[in-house]
């Protein structure tokens, strides 16, 4: 075990001391594990964690850090490309194989494993990230095409210790079960808010000939516009409720419907 992984700051010690005092010694001695995380999520769903959550999230992210990977020497890659781009507002420069997708570059080279590899063929949306303000599929984007661009992943949505409102709404509404599709769902939904504000139309828009700004999305609109993000646990009603609440800022009751 790398000592750095488990060393807690005073603030973090206080956080875990408050939340699960009986686990504190174990966390200090052997690091965070899945059981601790599940317990944290239990506290989150009971609403006991809101103010602490980000600190905990960041700690988990930190616990997964695997240190810097030494870059391969240029000669080792037949079609090596140097790419400079911004990831979560931090400048990055990486030497990649021309075949590397943005998804693999984020996950394997930049240690940003929040974006998930679901189908790797553009069918599931789990790899959705926001490039230059637009949601795209990182599995079908070559990293080599990202020169000079700005990429936002799930790891870059929170501002300091404050969750993005969409993240908070997904937590509040249980917009997930297993959580695998969630980073893609949330990135997709965050970009969707901007699309709705700009008045972009969808296939179910009432009248595409009318240009309208700041569209408030109905359940049907949300379902259509989020159809590129598959959730095999079927948390769709919760996801729709979360997106509605994030968009309107008003409390939203979840509605359950059988698929028509």
């Amino acid at each position: 075990m790398n000592e750095n992984k488990t060393k807690l700051t005073e603030e973090e010690k206080k956080l875990f001391g408050d939340l699960m005092p009986e686990e504190l010694d174990e966390i200090i001695s052997s690091g965070l594990n899945r059981r601790h995380f599940m317990k944290l999520m239990g506290l989150a769903s009971a609403g006991l964690l809101a103010s602490h959550l980000i600190g905990a999230e960041q700690l988990f992210a930190r616990s997964a850090e695997i240190g810097d990977i030494a870059d391969l020497a240029p000669a080792a890659i037949e079609n090596g490309i140097n790419v400079s781009f911004k990831v979560n507002n931090t400048a990055k420069k990486v030497l990649i194989d021309s075949r590397a997708t943005l998804l693999d570059t984020l996950r394997e080279r930049l240690d940003l494993t929040g974006s998930k590899k679901g189908c790797d063929h553009g069918q599931c949306g789990a790899c959705t990230v926001i490039v230059d303000g637009k949601r795209v599929l990182s599995c079908l984007t070559l990293a080599a095409t990202c020169e000079g661009k700005s990429v936002i992943t799930i790891e870059g949505l929170a501002k300091d210790n404050e969750l993005n409102p969409m993240q908070a709404a997904f937590l509040k509404h249980d917009g997930f079960q297993c959580g695998f599709c969630t980073p893609g769902q949330i990135c997709s939904a965050v970009a969707l808010m901007k699309e709705a504000k700009e008045g972009q139309a969808s296939f179910v828009t009432a009248d595409v000939r009318q240009n309208q700004q700041s569209v408030i999305l109905s359940d049907e609109e949300i379902a259509e516009r989020m159809s590129g993000n598959i959730c095999r646990c079927g948390a769709y009603p919760n996801i729709v409720a979360a997106i509605k609440e994030a968009q309107t800022g008003k409390n939203v009751e979840q509605t359950w419907l059988f698929a028509g």
Binding site: E78, G125, V136, N211
Partner: protein
């Protein structure tokens, strides 16, 4: 994925020059289809020339003299931007609806207008490199002919290939009488009518379209039409969203009261190219816009259909979809949800 050289340029003629130097090179635009096919080992370019920096993205009025005669859509503009451009939403809502019927928001943000025209069939046998496929490897046979061909063609297929062309956008472009503007290696432009752009499979299903190696789609041009308010794009699919068409119909009616001056109808999901429903159009010209006439036109159009073992349903579905699209177009609700 096989190794490839990645090249980029911000200039159309240098992109073309790079491409013609290498018969195994391909242009990379949105990559939503090409990259997927490269992962599947169906496409095997050894060089990709990235077009992402080319300035061929604008949507602007097409002008002859002092007159606006249509609209020009940049070949490398994104599908999302074409669908949402105010001029297209107002005057070509059929195109907006068709683009929005295709793929997902993420894919439309990536996919380009020219690339959309060049997307390849989603025939599962074409995608499976363990299966014979004349489109992928000429001369090996057509696996779909004896296989599961529920999604396949009912018009214009040959013994070599029964695949269908997957684009929704191109179906609307067919009904809108669009043209594809390409830059040739000589630097001069060539204008190809959308009906001559894609091909029927014949004995060369490996060729999806009539574009030559070294030609680049710079724009799609659409002439003005008189049916913006009376147009509809109806897509029937296995899921409500994010699925390829079983059958789709783009329809526009130019009306004088209840009378049809002319009808433009194209179908998707039924052939190796957007299928222009000329029989139906001919029947409707000059007739009253009634359900009976719509049905007569739809029946006539589907008379030539040659269904395969698993897609006979497309005949009835095609008739009903034509009638429904014409009804929506006539009522002026086709561009509404």
């Amino acid at each position: 994925m096989r190794p490839f050289k990645f090249t980029n340029t911000s200039n159309a003629s240098s992109a073309i020059n790079l491409l013609i130097k290498n018969p195994n090179a391909k242009f990379l635009a949105g990559g939503t289809n090409l990259l997927d096919l490269m992962k599947e080992d169906v496409e095997r370019p050894d060089e990709l020339i990235d077009l992402g920096r080319l300035d061929l993205t604008a949507v602007r009025p097409l002008v002859t003299g002092n007159n606006v005669v249509g609209i020009s859509i940049g070949g490398l503009g994104k599908n999302t931007d074409a669908a949402n451009h105010p001029l297209i939403r107002k005057d070509y809502p059929l195109l907006t609806k068709a683009i929005l019927a295709g793929a997902s928001a993420q894919i439309r943000n990536m996919a380009t207008n020219g690339g959309n025209l060049l997307q390849r069939t989603r025939c599962s046998y074409f995608y499976d490199i363990a299966m014979p496929c004349n489109k992928r490897l000429p001369g090996t046979g057509c696996s779909a002919m004896q296989g599961i061909n529920r999604m396949h063609a009912i018009f214009g297929w040959s013994d070599s290939c029964i695949a269908v062309y997957p684009s929704d956008m191109a179906v609307a472009l067919s009904a809108l009488n669009a043209s594809v503007k390409v830059m040739q290696p000589s630097g001069t432009a060539r204008i190809i009518a959308i009906h001559d752009f894609h091909r029927l499979p014949g004995n060369h299903p490996e060729k999806d379209n009539n574009l030559d190696h070294g030609e680049l789609i710079t724009a799609i041009e659409i002439p003005k039409n008189k049916f913006a308010a009376n147009s509809a794009y109806i897509k029937v699919r296995d899921r409500n969203s994010y699925a390829f068409a079983l059958v789709s119909v783009a329809a526009g009616l130019e009306l004088a009261g209840g009378k049809i001056i002319s009808a433009s109808i194209a179908m998707g999901g039924v052939a190796h190219k957007p299928w222009r429903a000329t029989h139906a159009e001919n029947i409707l010209r000059g007739k009253m816009a009634t359900v009976e006439n719509f049905q007569m036109a739809a029946d006539a159009e589907m008379e030539d259909a040659r269904p395969l073992a698993h897609n006979k349903f497309k005949i009835g579905m095609g008739k009903k979809t034509i009638v429904y699209a014409l009804e929506q177009a006539f009522k002026g609700t086709g561009y509404k949800a």
